[in-house]
Symmetry: C2
Subunit: 404 residues, 2 copies
């Protein structure tokens, strides 16, 4: 609340905030060959290299990273096997390995799943209790320093204080956050994303857009600077998406998307405003149960969420439609413009190969009630999700039904 | 240079870069009352409080800051008297004071001039030679930690690795840069800017826009992400400017401008691209000689620079005109659109009270040759300035003549 010049209490104006993004970002071609240099710069002597599997090995990336560590005389152990929607089991394994080997630095080589798994390990390795405490709301204030070598533009975990892990005991997918989760350094080489298949690239782009939408839909008013930054980042990925899904070798387009993906989620465009995040919660149930790609899930969830919640601020939806999708403003009936924006989003995601309904994800109607309940009450939640609109279980179920 | 899929060497694509902005930003109402808390967090035990004069004292801000330091048991000395276009004399005085009093933290309370002067002192205090070395090109790798409490949205020094000082021995105005110049923390309370006179507010807005233009005009191609971010920040300040020059008490508008001013200059929207900065060099001659406000000088310089250099990339100027000023694209003759954009910029700056020519700055035609020579050859320069177009002395003189 704020006492303004008109002598009325106004609510929902820009909130006080802290913004602290101390990650050392190294961006560009071949920078991964200097991984050892940066590990040393940030104090690492015994490194856990954490990664997924096949492509990081096949492409020779893992070998280049090891060579770079050896050249600096840095000792390391390794743990592969991270899967999309990373699981708690491997985290426990990583924590044990760090303790046994006296690891003092965690180096993630991969995408959001690998980075998130690395963050969980880095926090768990220096914590006496169960690392899952952090994913039930405990703030992460201490962790081993983390470095990342990013292989897909998507999650933004390379610059964020966040991590999402699926607990195999109940298949809860939950997030943790804290300053200690900001990587010490992140190496972003767009050339590493040139070997990705189009579907994965499109999933990444969808995730980036979702991170921007989660921040865009807010109850905070008069936040022009963050509105405009979000719109600018959306315009960037919308322009570049068809260029990279058609030709993944387009370095320039990959580079623009990669920096946009980091900026979309390090929160410089989300400061001082209420954010939503219900769509992520709704999607997490889908990817936890059906193990679909997080980006693909978001492509199904977000248009449904928009359709259901549009009425809460028609003008905000119209603003997005006009500024980002180039829709004509219908001044007599802005709702038409808002709807046109959602239709444009659906078309766009379809055009880059994203699914648009439950069938496309392998999701089942009979699971809706269970998912809606878990999203609102599972694992410590208290009945509502979302900051723009507080959704109850019945709302979440209705949104799932819009995806059939 | 980059070997692309079409098997041709392409020049001028996005460059490798490092982005490192570790400043702890604390934004919002009354945050200055926690200055002591943040000084302590970043290790300060004996502080130099550096400031300008009148308003910081009259408004009670300085007292609030001292109270906050005392409450944390932090000792301090103070040095006021910073003037706009800060001078080397006071820097030497500050360095001597730091050494004599064993100061370990410099706290700037003021605008860009105060912060820049504080940075120079912080570097000089731990350097054996003359601090001016840094302003002649030596990289700043070591300095006392710096905190800032910002009182005007303008220079962006609260988040930048830069500082500009005028050497009284010859009246050279020069910049220094280096990672050690990024403040440890910066407190941004938009309410502190509500007492500024409209002319100063408008000068600050002009400076912010100039920082964005210096980055926008580039020879690097296909840098959509930074183009769009710059455009978004320009659209923000263009919308908010009339609201704050008409009513400086508009907190929300001041807040949007304040965050835009930081983002405009911490370089997140300037990464990976050639930047220009000739207009700043051209302006620095004016403010060094006539002691005009830096923002006012930029309002005179930039349209002239644009007019002179437009021909080097008509489409980039047209893009700015369409996306930021809402000009119609003239597809038959994009030069008309480019010109319309420059005209819109002139009108905008006039509308918020900025001067538009030499007379408005108190500058004199007879000094043109001297200023053009100093801009290109003074104090170690080697004949050209600018990254978008390399300007020689005769070009700079011609640009000055366009301001008559």
């Amino acid at each position: 609340m704020f006492w303004d010049i008109t002598h009325q209490w106004k609510e929902n104006l820009m909130e006080n905030f802290v913004f602290y993004s101390p990650t050392y970002f190294v961006f560009g071609k071949e920078e991964e060959t200097r991984a050892g240099h940066y590990v040393k710069r940030f104090g690492g002597k015994k490194v856990l290299i954490h990664y997924g599997g096949g492509s990081v090995i096949r492409s020779g990336l893992l070998d280049r990273v090891k060579l770079s560590l050896k050249a600096e005389g840095i000792d390391f152990v390794e743990l592969g096997g991270v899967k999309p929607n990373p699981r708690s089991g491997l985290v426990y394994e990583g924590i044990e390995l760090c303790r046994k080997e006296n690891v003092d630095f965690v180096l993630a080589v991969g995408g959001g799943s690998t980075i998130d798994s690395s963050k969980a390990i880095a926090a768990g390795a220096v914590y006496d209790g169960d690392f899952w405490d952090f994913y039930q709301g405990k703030s992460v204030t201490k962790a081993l320093p983390i470095g990342t070598i990013l292989t897909i533009s998507a999650a933004g975990s390379e610059g964020s204080p966040d991590s999402v892990i699926t607990n195999e005991d109940g298949m809860y997918k939950r997030g943790a956050t804290g300053e200690a989760f900001r990587p010490a350094f992140s190496i972003l080489n767009p050339a590493l994303t040139q070997t990705l298949p189009p579907f994965q690239i499109a999933c990444g782009i969808t995730d980036i857009m979702a991170h921007l939408f989660e921040r865009y839909f807010t109850t905070t008013i008069e936040v022009e600077v963050t509105d405009r930054m979000i719109e600018g980042l959306l315009l960037t990925v919308i322009k570049e998406a068809p260029r990279v899904t058609e030709d993944s070798n387009n370095y320039q387009a990959q580079a623009n998307i990669m920096w946009a993906g980091m900026m979309a989620h390090n929160n410089s465009c989300g400061v001082g405003r209420v954010q939503d995040w219900a769509s992520h919660d709704i999607e997490h149930e889908l990817s936890a149960i059906y193990d679909c790609a997080h980006g693909a899930g978001l492509a199904v969830v977000f248009p449904a969420w928009m359709q259901y919640n549009m009425k809460h601020d028609i003008n905000r939806f119209a603003q997005l439609a006009v500024r980002v999708w180039g829709c004509e403003m219908d001044f007599m009936n802005p709702e038409n413009t808002a709807k046109a924006g959602i239709a444009a989003l659906r078309s766009f995601w379809t055009s880059i190969g994203m699914p648009s309904d439950f069938a496309g994800l392998g999701a089942k109607e009979e699971d809706i009630e269970k998912m809606a309940h878990t999203a609102c009450y599972g694992d410590g939640r208290t009945g509502t999700i979302g900051g723009f609109v507080k959704l109850e279980e019945k709302d979440v179920a209705a949104i799932y039904r819009l995806m059939l």
